[in-house]
Symmetry: C2
Subunit: 153 residues, 2 copies
């Protein structure tokens, strides 16, 4: 629990290309899938197990935006940047459906670190986050551009 | 309301590059921003207006994943593909913060239509969705690769 409640705040100087940050896990069930979809992605294959059987997904599947939202929750807990995880943009691909009963976890790798030319107190860090299920299968790849601050002098 | 409750299902043949689909609007408030952030992006600038004042965002701002989730809700209602809006991947950039009190709407433009070589019943459609606030300022640009089916023979 200590890692969640009193994380070490990380500054730009603390990161190295190739560093990997591994999250805790997140248990997903049908009720959560249906609740998220009702609010944000109300399509039959995310709302109703019976309707989903005959769909593209051949069974109830989480909205991809639900998977990415869970990924963000796990990322915020595992990559503890000093001023927060602030995204400027992202690329996402969904490699297979997320299902009820899945246990998700995220491994995030620092791909690049680019100091800002105009703002000396910060830089942009590119982070690749692979979200996997309990069988170790990747369900999503997220590459984010994150604003990261230097340690104050 | 008719457009929401009995939309015309669209197949690949019904789409043309340059077609624009305009959504209804969505009213966002502080409670929604805080509720989403509590679940998926628990960082001070998304959770607490006072704490947010001294942050990067200089005031309470919605999680970018909340903005994209709202965008999906508006997209599903406005781009009524016959078998649903099924994304294979996406690129997102957030151009400015989404704030309490914002009214969001989405304009989606068909950028390309590529029939599948291996699966003759479908293709991939690239859709650019610009999410704007009540002042017409873009808050997010989303480019999605969407699976789209041909009309059954």
């Amino acid at each position: 629990m200590q890692s969640s409640t009193s994380p070490t705040p990380l500054y730009l100087e603390d990161l190295t290309v190739g560093d990997v940050f591994t999250s805790e896990s997140y248990q997903l069930d049908s009720d959560q899938i249906i609740q998220f979809a009702s609010q944000f992605d109300p399509q039959p294959f995310h709302l109703d197990a019976d309707a989903a059987k005959d769909s593209f997904f051949q069974g109830l599947a989480a909205s991809g935006w639900h998977t990415v939202a869970i990924t963000m929750r796990l990322l915020v807990q595992s990559l503890t940047l000093a001023n927060g995880v602030i995204g400027a943009g992202a690329e996402i691909s969904w490699t297979q459906p997320t299902r009820p009963g899945d246990t998700l976890s995220v491994a995030s790798t620092i791909l690049s670190i680019t100091p800002s030319r105009s703002k000396p107190d910060r830089g942009i860090v590119v982070v690749e986050s692979i979200t996997s299920n309990q069988r170790g299968e990747a369900v999503q790849k997220l590459v984010s551009k994150v604003v990261c601050f230097r340690r104050p002098v």
